[in-house]
Subunit: 284 residues, 3 copies
């Protein structure tokens, strides 16, 4: 078995260019035994909050000895710091100091040590002003994967000094209404809402009014799976990240309703504990 | 050399989300030495037949000790079974019981043992109702890659009970006409037809009438390669899956003719054994 | 540590089909220990020059013992040769004889030996007329990765006989004007110009007139990073390939200006050594 730590790589680089390949080539040169797994490279452009959510979610499924390399970095070339974080659980997280790493490291037990990647001995030189993924972050991740002492990468900094971002949240209005944000849309057109399933007390079959997009109100059922709805039904389901998802059985909910990432969705609970099937509202 | 079996991964998850990355992370945790190769993650959405064709084709090129992980799963969250199949050739195939695995396992010698993946000890829990790739299929593939006895994954089931799908076929009309289906369209706009080259007795240079799309009839030549046609020529060529492909030299045949996956194409043989070059018909 | 050479894979196959997966499966069968890294599979269709530039750039970051597998091959199925090149630095490069490999091998010290891949013992048979990546190039790369003597792959040929392509260049007009070509556009809309930063003597803050697209003249500053401009500013920056890039801070320069790969851009130097910030011209 390889003695190198696995590297989990998330970015907004996409796969149309050679950005990801160059980062991997740099890592392979430093850590030939490390396995690199792509979490995703399609974090919506400059989407620090979206990237932070995906990275935090991934920590629940990845090896404990992981190195997370995360690059969503609209501030590249400015004074923002480049970081390596050691979590209490023993994982490393590498990326810009813009909040991207914070929810993930908190999920991994919190920050044991934070280092600013200022030691040029571990940079690829000349350091580009636009591509720190290749020149600063990837080499740091690879060195950590093969056992370098993280304090050699630069100066230890105070964890309290790290930039944090407000994670996507939801608001409650009274006792039966929540307002959530669409945090991502997958290829099937399912809209992930910023509402964790655990924080809403819905029973399967619950009936809700949905206000979203330009199409007025709709009625939806909260169901356990697509299999509990009919083709074309608009539904709420718990998704793979344990969030509420606004979905359409065999259809594309976002296209049908004109919804996008960042849109607000208001959900009003009309009826809980019901199993009766209700289709789409007539006015929809 | 690694003692783990290689894992070949096919799905319709796309690469825009973290679905594939999460499945790989789960597999790496169980089978750190296994190499995972992406066959493709762009099987057209819910395309069980298309996925089955791609998977079957791949079996001709992959290692004998392969583990195939295939997830095109419109029935996720319903009662459809999750399967692991052992082929007579010694490969494993993991995926939903919807026909996706059947042509591939038949190409690998047929089913020696079929297991329904009901043993929760080998699931990632809690099992999501929408993402069995991560929670049921990927862990099963990884356990098999590192040598787990497949009968531990659940209950042995009768191979005759498996769901089968009708593979894309072609019909003959009289002695000189076939009707085939467009089973896939590649990035260059080449339309793969459901007609295996071996089952049509065309000689290179044969002249055919094509009826497809909205543009009336066209004449095409069956040629060995693009190099045997002129730029802009519409041609039939044997493609990399040994199927007839309707193609345009340096052009995009599907865009030009308004063709899509699932469209029917009627081919009538006008002239065999001819080498004379005929361009596109005047009415096209 | 693996004794196999790493394989760096570049193509125009895209990831929507199974082309890349099949090539990797073939390589894994021959060289189970080799690590394959995707440089990119989105070289613009039939873009031999663009692929050559990406491949050459990558050589500056990859391991010295690399095997480069590069397939941008509009001539597949014609008489063009299939090549393996050994560079003076000890790397191998595999691909079609159409100029794709030449800038890279020159960057790696020049050609020590060139072999035409004519030995059918190292082909996957039957050899498809449209998919030499799977049937000829990938197996050659894998055999070289695990130490096969390259002269066994076919006939040694004269390096002087190789097809070369004119790399993207730039023209000088008088002392203060250059005309460059847009060689690629990344996902953020940045236009890479065929002008190497080293060959233009610009100081940061220099003011230039840009003529490109349909929008008449614009004024831009040459800045070190995006951080030295304001949101919405059109700028010139040195990009990750050490080329001039025409970019828009937090915007999409190519969409804004209607620019595409292949367009010509004329740059006239108005003012050097200035740090004064000038925004976009009023007429733009």
């Amino acid at each position: 078995m390889s003695s190198a730590r696995p590297i989990y790589f998330l970015s907004d680089y996409g796969l149309d260019d050679d950005f990801v390949g160059l980062c991997k080539g740099v890592m392979l040169g430093i850590a030939p035994e490390a396995t690199v797994i792509d979490l995703t490279h399609e974090v919506p452009g400059f989407g620090v909050e979206a990237g932070a959510e995906i990275l935090e979610h991934a920590t629940h499924y990845m090896s404990k000895n992981a190195v997370y390399l995360a690059v969503v970095d609209p501030g590249v070339g400015t004074e923002r710091r480049a970081l390596a974080l050691l979590s209490a659980d023993g994982a490393f997280l590498i990326g810009p100091d813009n909040g991207l790493l914070v929810p993930a490291v908190e999920s991994l037990g919190g920050i044991t040590c934070a280092v600013s990647l200022t030691n040029a001995d571990y940079h690829i030189r000349p350091v580009s002003s636009t591509f720190h993924g290749r020149d600063i972050f990837a080499p740091a991740a690879a060195h950590l994967a093969v056992g370098l002492d993280h304090t050699l990468l630069g100066e230890v900094v105070d964890p309290a000094s790290l930039v944090r971002v407000e994670p996507f949240g939801m608001e409650k209005e009274g006792t039966n209404t929540i307002v959530a944000t669409i945090t991502s849309v997958d290829r099937y057109g399912n809209a992930r809402l910023s509402a964790p399933v655990e924080e809403v007390s819905l029973s399967f079959g619950a009936l809700l009014k949905v206000e979203a997009g330009e199409d007025g109100d709709m009625l939806v059922r909260y169901v356990e799976t697509f299999g509990h709805s009919k083709i074309g039904d608009l539904i709420l389901v718990p998704d793979s990240h344990r969030r509420l998802s606004l979905s359409m059985n065999k259809g594309n909910a976002c296209r049908a309703l004109g919804l996008r990432i960042g849109n607000q969705v208001r959900l009003t609970l009309l009826e809980n504990h019901s199993e009766r099937h209700v289709g789409r509202d007539a006015e929809f």
